[in-house]
Each structure stands twice: as structure tokens, then as C-alpha cells.
Subunit: 333 residues, 2 copies
DNA sequence: GCTCTTCGTGTGACCGGTCAAGCAGATGCG
DNA sequence: CGCATCTGCTTGACCGGTCACACGAAGAGC
């Protein structure tokens, strides 16, 4: 086992005390330039890397954040956000620790948070947008900041979601502007905040036009559930359908085509998320784009501001953007 | 700031010395049952949680593994594996630290590995299946075990991939058995091990049948690149095409349909991965299934065995499995 | 010239665990 | 009965950093 240098080795090598080395490493003032250089040279010669455990023990700061992500059903969004979080965190000198509860219930969430806290993380970003999540986390009374992404709460974390309600309203308005009047909804699971917000936005926009959904089915975000949803919906005589995410839209189009319906000529379909593949679905999917990367970056910025006690906050949710492709067209007459 | 209990508080509460508490926590023998119980009661009363930094400093063991994942292009596979890794690690009492180089070049890889080592991880699982990865990692001479997943090397980590060569051969044989003789290939990027292995397997199977690929194009795993690949390939008169992943197959089908070709009647398409959506592509995609979860579990098992010096090894790559759906049929005459 | 501040550096204690050695009391063995 | 061994527990040192404080030297103010 090769001996790895510690701070006292460096001090000896540089001919100063270990405290001086510590000062140099932490950028304290009041070090003579020549002394600093001697220390830095010694650090380089010995390839000294400060021991994080020792530093953490002494300062009780870990420079680590936790990511609590429950990934199931859809992959693209959470994965993009996680990658962005890790990137932003490292940029700011923080490391990232992962916790993946396999199911999202109160006790798994609690256990995951506790695990991360035991690891010494200074803050946690949560990607588990079930409705109950926010409440469970609040009840925990955790001693560190926790930001919840993609929540529907109009609270301090508002800036950490896309405005799902607005996005769904835009989708509905797009269909309305094409002349559709009988529009169905494939909602997400009703224990997900985003699903509820999208349903609300969609129904609100319809109501503003004096309409109601022609029919409603709920899926679980998977393509398979979109496929099954179509079977529930058929017979309700709609000319367009809003699916709460792209995968369900894909499954629904599959079922529709199988029944001999032509998309978009006989049925317009619009999704949500704009996953990279949706541009190549058949037909290419009209959908609502979310900026998952920006979401991740904002989560880290918010978290670190809270960790360090500064007041940064993102007051408004990110604007979603309509991407029109070939799966929507004017209503058949 | 509420005082959190340390081991000496527990000792005082239980009326024993701190060393006895440490013994109990670490399951040492030679503790009287009644003493152990008194300690455990005190632990529970004070909600004592051992400080990981202190333990790490004293033992120089972190009980943490690192995951170095370069996620770009495809999401489903790596994300599934990461989730499985985190799960298996936690099961074994290990935590998971993340590092996501945004590009995969030698210096980013080195930096990411170094970052993880500085964090004190005891081993690293690498999901960055570019060909050069393995060599760069080997050259690093890292003082901790590193396992590389999805590498093409037939070395100690062989069990940490699906047998890509076999999978591609199975795909080719499926097309051959349907009577296709003019078969094109959309390969993955040629700096990815998996891409090379799939190309090898595909071309090998064709050669065994006395054939050569009708045409070859390379993509970058994205649907978009599959779409573009078709434009390169057309005019080469093929009746079937093997795409090195599902997304590229999706893009290719999109381009084919746009040119008026019917899949599978005029063109059979087969993919690789079996992402959840591929069952609902239009037409549903015939593809080769990989077990990403098992890959993640094996990576952790291998890593921990190596960390602990036990001899566990998975001698053989995971078998891929053909999933026949609607995108392939007998060759047109 | 003497004290007062500022600058640059060193000393000791401490963070919260673990490990090695030590030390009573009980038990085994001749 | 004397000695060695085992059992159960305690004490002291240590892991590798940081923090609070002390201290000598140089420059400022009177």
C-alpha cells in the first residue's frame, strides 16, 4: 500500500507548519506570496489530495448534495435532469450522491432521505413528483434544505417545474384553434402532481371555450398504458386527444392505427415532453417541450443558495413550448 | 442547531464506555447480552446515527461506490443500469456517488475517476462504452477496482455486457431465416465498443451465409441519425435492415415510410435493446432484448467482490433475446 | 523610545469514530 | 492452591484535517 501524502508531509516538504498549509489550501489571506508558492510546489511534488473525510469531520460540511430520484415509466426527463444536476453541482464544487427508492411511498421516501442525511449531504433534490411527496418531505422536518422538482405546489419551489398547467392549456388551445371540439384526454396517474396540473390546464382551457373533455382515461406514463387507454376511449366520438406525455401518445397512436384510424386525418394527437424520439414517431408528434436541463440547473442553484443562506429564488415556472409536427391537423368536417 | 448524539453520549446514557458502544455497533463478540441491550436501548432513545465521516476517517473505508456514466443519445439502458446499481449497492450497505463527464475523452475520464477517488469511493462502475475507455482506465493505474460495463473486451469484465456479437448475429439470422438476402446495416458510432461488436456479429452471420451487407451507414444512436442513415442507404436495393439500436430503427422507419416504403411489407427492420416504447412503434419493432437490470446487479457484485478480495466473477456475457414483433416479415419476391 | 496594531506563522485541542493494549474478575487445568 | 486463559469492559492513541488562540517581528502613532 503506497503511502499517500497528508498535510503534515506537505508541511515538512515545504518547511512550514501544517497550519500554514491548511491556510494556503483554503485561500486564507495573510500568507506571504513566497511561502504560498513553496507550499503549492510541495503539494504538486507530493501529489497531495486533501482527505475529504477528515475535512468533513472537522468542518461538518460534506460539499455533497443528494439526488433522490424515483425513476419509473419515463426515463428521458428525470435522466436529463439528473445529469444536469450532477454537472451543475460539480461546477460549484459539490459532489452528488444518489438514492433511488424503488417504490415511492412514505416510508421509502423517509428512508431514502434519512440515508442521504446519514451520508452527510448538505441538501437534497427530489425527483419524485407524486402528490404525496411534498407533504411527506415537509413532515420529515429534515435538518437540511430539500427542493422538490416538478411539484405542483405554488410555493418556494415554483421555479423548479415547467408550468404544466400552462403547457396543457397551450396543447388544448392548439387543438381548439385547429377547429376540434370533441377532444379526449389521456391523463397521467392521479397521484402525480404533474399529471394533475396537466389535467387542470387542459380542462381549464376547454372550459374557457365552453367545452368539456369528450372522454377521459388515465395511464401510468408508459406507452403500453396509452395503448390501453385508446380502447377505453373509443366509441366516444372525439377528433383529437391530448396525452399527458409522449410515450402514452405513442401507445395511443399505435392502438388508433390498429383500429384503422388515420392520424392525423381522422384523429389529431398531441403529447407532452418532446422526448428526442417523438420527432420520429409515425406520424411525428406534436408536443409540448420541457427544458429538463434548465430544471436541473435551477434545482442546484436553489439548493446551494439555501445551503449557504443566500436568498436566490426562481419566482416563475419555466415556460413550456409548443412544438408542432405532423400528428395534429384541422378537425375533419 | 440541535445537538446530535455522538458515541460518547450513547455511552453515558447506557452507563458503559464509548468503546463498548463501538463494539456493539460493529457486531463484535464478547459483549454480554444484557450490556448489548442497554446500549441498543440508548441508541434508540437518542436516535444515534454514527457519523460516516468519522468512521471513514478512522477506517479509511467509505462504503461508497462511484458510478461514472456518460449519458448521451440513449437513455433507457444506462438509466436502468444506474438504478439497478444504486439498488444493489444499497442492499449491500454501500452508497452511490455519481460522476457524469459531459464528453468522453481521455482527460474528462481521468478527471472524473480522480474526482471519485478523492471522494473516497472504494470502486467505480463505468458506463461509458467507447472503445478508448477501457484503455484510458487501464493506463490510469487507479488504486481501486474499476469495472467497465458494456465493453467489448473479452476480459475479466466479460460478464458485464450482453453478448452484443451474439445478439447481432441472432438479428441477422432472423432476417436470413425470413428469406432476406439483401440486408443493410445501420451501425452505431465506430468509437463505441458495443457498436463494433454488433457490426461484427451482424457481418459474421452474413458471411456464414455467404453474404455481405447490402449497404452500411453509421449513426450516433439517436432517432435522428437513423432517419438520416436511410437517406444514405436508399438506392442500394435492400429488403431488410438491422439497426444497432431501437431509436435508430425508429428514425429509419420514419424516413422509409416518408419515401413511400411499407414496413414490413417492402422493408423489414430489426433493432436492438427492446426499449419499452418499441412495442408501440409503428409497426411494433422486432428487436433484441438486453437485461440492463441484471447488468447493473452484476456490476455491483463484481465490484464488491473485488473490493473485498473475494473471487466472484461472471464468466459469460448475458444472453440477448430475440423479440419478434411486426416490423419484420418474409422477403418480398 | 515605548506601546499598539497588523501581519505572518506556529501550537494545542478537537471533530467522532476505530484500533491496540491493558486490566480486573471468572473459569480451567494440573 | 497457583498459574494460565478467557471474558467483558476501559483507557489512550490515532485517522487527517480545521479552529481558536498565542506569539514574535515589523510598522504606526505618540
Amino acid at each position: 500500500m503506497p503511502h499517500v501524502a497528508n498535510i503534515r508531509d506537505v508541511a515538512r516538504e515545504a518547511g512550514v507548519s501544517y497550519q500554514t498549509v491548511s491556510r494556503v489550501l483554503n485561500g486564507h489571506p495573510n500568507i506571504r506570496a513566497e511561502t504560498r508558492q513553496r507550499v503549492l510546489d510541495a503539494v504538486a511534488r507530493l501529489d497531495f489530495r486533501p482527505n475529504r473525510a477528515a475535512r468533513m469531520l472537522a468542518t461538518s460540511r460534506s460539499h455533497t448534495i443528494g439526488v433522490l430520484a424515483a425513476i419509473n415509466g419515463s426515463y428521458y426527463g428525470p435522466t436529463s435532469s439528473i445529469a444536469a444536476i450532477e454537472d451543475a453541482a460539480r461546477e460549484a464544487g459539490y459532489s452528488t450522491m444518489l438514492a433511488n427508492p424503488r417504490v415511492v411511498d412514505a416510508s421509502s421516501l423517509r428512508e431514502a432521505v434519512r440515508h442521504l442525511i446519514d451520508e452527510g449531504v448538505e441538501g437534497i433534490a427530489v425527483l419524485a413528483p407524486q402528490t404525496r411527496t411534498a407533504q411527506v418531505l415537509a413532515d420529515l422536518g429534515a435538518p437540511i434544505p430539500i427542493v422538490t422538482m416538478q411539484t405542483e405546489l405554488r410555493d418556494a419551489d415554483a421555479g423548479l417545474s415547467v408550468d404544466n398547467e400552462l403547457g396543457a392549456a397551450i396543447a388544448a388551445q392548439h387543438l381548439l384553434s385547429l377547429g376540434h371540439r370533441r377532444i379526449a384526454l389521456v391523463a397521467g396517474p392521479d397521484d402525480w402532481s404533474e399529471a394533475l396540473a396537466r389535467t387542470r390546464g387542459f380542462e381549464g382551457a376547454l372550459r374557457d371555450a365552453g367545452l368539456e373533455p369528450a372522454a377521459v382515461a388515465a395511464g401510468d406514463w408508459t406507452a403500453e398504458s396509452g395503448y390501453l387507454a385508446f380502447q377505453q376511449l373509443r366509441g366516444h366520438g372525439f377528433t383529437a386527444v391530448f396525452c399527458a406525455n409522449d410515450q402514452m401518445a405513442l401507445g395511443l397512436m399505435h392502438a388508433a392505427v390498429e383500429r384503422g384510424l388515420r392520424v392525423p386525418e381522422q384523429l389529431s394527437v398531441i403529447g407532452f415532453d418532446d422526448v428526442p424520439e417523438s420527432a420520429h414517431y409515425l406520424p411525428p408528434l406534436t408536443t409540448i417541450r420541457q427544458d429538463f436541463d434548465e430544471l436541473g440547473r435551477r434545482a442546484v442553484a436553489t439548493l446551494l443558495a439555501r445551503v449557504e443562506g443566500s436568498p436566490l429564488e426562481f419566482p416563475t415556472a419555466l415556460p413550456p413550448r409548443l412544438t408542432v409536427r405532423a400528428s395534429t391537423m384541422g378537425a375533419p368536417v
